[in-house]
Symmetry: C2
Subunit: 360 residues, 2 copies
DNA sequence: CCACAGATTGAGAACGTTCTCACCCAAGTG
DNA sequence: CACTTGGGTGAGAACGTTCTCAATCTGTGG
């Protein structure tokens, strides 16, 4: 432990008891509101506490009760609007029932995620909401569960883990979005996954079983849905139209330029999150092309700017806040002793048609 | 305490010690890495710990050391990109030195802020980063400081509070932005503050001393800077061009429509945050007006979409991440015993000229 | 062999709560 | 009057660590 120890001067229950002329047991009862205390004692204790500026020490309380009233929350990137909105939902659900939130950014880094799980376990959080990194460490998560800390997974799933999950039906949502583009007459639709380059070959040419395995991750499930729509429409998926070249805006811009330079360029693009959509728009501007007249665009997530820009963006809106709130509620139910079977809750998405996708 | 008590089965140091055949004191030394332990004992203890899946209980540790290694963070709205980015800075600074972050959303609600301060005090956080609500409760904050918990204020200041503060020079930044619009030939520049309706009369007609008092809040300081620029340019400020009609996008859109319906409408608008700018853009679209040919626009904060939309938005960029990181570092310095005088750090802003503001 | 420094060890206190348990006492009951 | 009932009370254990301190062990130099 580095650093000098700061010793605060906050009075303990014992001091308050002495001041009030009663035992610590009675003072504890008066302050904690349990057991039975005479009116006289209670008033004496409360007055003494007020006078001394007594604040209960919740650490000591937690030692006894075995509850920290703290929920750990692990997200890859708090700056991502998806996670900050979901976090809001989690925090609200927690506060509503008297819990606080200990937040850790994992930065999409597996080592950090493992470290965080370890730290939060030592802090004895009552439960954990985890939005796992794409390659989440099943064993590390299972170890937490085995230690008696319930876990709820948000957005992404981890096969084989004993935990509740909350998310959307990614495959269906992506399929629906793709179908809408196809219905508008687009025959060559590109997919911007934002995923890692390593993922790309798997996304574009999954084997028969490959598609199923893919569907475990969020990106994978959406890619599978995109594929589903193409196949059902009798269109042969073209690997070069599936891009997994990074999740930053610049990556998406570069990917867009590459796509539009193809001999047979796409006439529509499906972006798997709103940051990627920004990259597309930026690239189009740079190329002197216009949306939707030259290229149609549909994105996941209804960012606050989606409605305000020109053209207003057509999006697949997820109930992000509700996802977080539901995860929080589910977790607190477990913490408070629910022994129900693990549930996997899929909340409905909503396609919001604006002006960025038109018929060809 | 509501809910049933979950009793985890995690082994304590005592169990580990027994398994290893040593005393709890020795086991503690071996596990904690303090004091001196023979190689043989240490190995026995570590092996036993591994076997039993021992995880130290940081609550018990905190009881003894007086340090929770936890920083409390109070923000009005975690969904606001400003705060989520600043939070990222705080969290990174904290993690770097081995601290965790307990996050509370105050929702711009004074009662919630007070409640949160109380809860975090009881949790014995080692320090607090607070982005106070506009009408922050000085006394509640001072009580925390008096209880021995150092506080660092982020973005907004609270006059008379014994705390470090980190932010930008709001008055100068707003003055600079306004001057740039004036230099482009605009003579009637509107200001969208996003503040509360109650604030408006104060903003538009501050008395001589009023300006000084105003400058204490972020919105107030920026309004003062806007005024400074006008006055220096010899332009009489027009109260009806200063809008404080709410901080949501729709509020800004409505305000814009009102402004442009004036007999002598503004030719340029300065929006005090990026969400308000979105409202302006949305209103312009609705009115069939174009930016910048019909109305110029400059906003605070370089949102991710600012560069990608049409036209790319000219902005006053704050070093948001650095503000958070600096607040975190300053706080940890205090926690670890720095007794320096309170500092008020102003980080530099940067005007990014893009295409939303042109000469008239 | 003895004295001594330094490493190693364990008993037990401490942190600030909640919980268990026995005890006291006043008020009722037969 | 003896006997129960139950609210009110305080002593002390418990939670799981770290810290203090005295005791024991080890090896070294004389």
């Amino acid at each position: 432990m580095s650093g000098s120890v700061r010793r605060t001067t906050m009075p303990s229950i014992e001091i308050v008891a002495k001041e009030a002329g009663v035992s610590t047991a009675t003072a504890g009862r008066a302050l904690g509101g349990y057991g039975s205390v005479s009116r006289k004692s209670r008033e004496a204790v409360l007055a003494a506490a007020e006078r001394l500026g007594y604040r209960p020490n919740s650490l000591a309380r937690s030692m006894i009760t075995g509850l920290t009233h703290t929920l750990g929350v692990l997200v890859p990137d708090i700056e991502n609007p998806f996670f900050s909105r979901a976090l809001r939902g989690i925090a609200d659900a927690a506060h509503e029932r008297g819990w606080e939130v200990l937040l850790v950014n994992t930065d999409e880094d597996l080592a950090l995620e493992r470290k965080a799980l370890s730290v939060l376990t030592e802090r004895r959080v009552d439960g954990l909401v985890v939005a796992p990194t794409d390659v989440a460490d099943r064993d590390a998560l299972q170890a937490v569960v085995d230690a008696g800390i319930p876990v709820v997974l948000l957005d992404r799933r981890v096969p084989g883990l004993e935990a509740d999950t909350v998310g959307i039906d990614n495959r269906a949502a992506a399929k629906d979005a793709t179908e809408r583009l196809l219905k508008l007459g687009h025959r060559s639709v590109a997919l911007l996954t934002g995923g890692d380059e390593k993922l790309r070959p798997k996304l574009s040419r999954p084997g028969l079983r490959g598609v199923e395995r893919l569907a475990a991750t969020t990106v994978g499930a959406r890619a599978a849905g995109y594929r589903d729509a193409l196949v059902e429409a009798g269109i042969e998926p073209r690997p070069e139209l599936v891009s997994a070249e990074g999740f930053r805006r610049e990556d998406a811009a570069a990917a867009t330029r590459r796509l539009l330079a193809l001999p047979d360029p796409p006439t529509a693009i499906l972006a798997l999150d709103s940051l990627l959509a920004l990259g597309v728009l930026q690239a189009l501007r740079g190329l002197g092309l216009r949306c939707p007249v030259d290229v149609s665009l549909v994105a996941f997530d209804d960012a606050d700017w989606a409605e305000a820009i020109s053209p207003p963006l057509s999006v697949v809106a997820q109930p992000i806040y509700e996802l977080g709130a539901e995860a929080g509620r589910l977790l607190l139910d477990r913490v408070q002793g629910s022994d129900k079977r693990f549930t996997h809750r899929r909340l409905p998405t909503r396609f919001i048609e604006r002006e960025s996708a038109t018929s060809r």
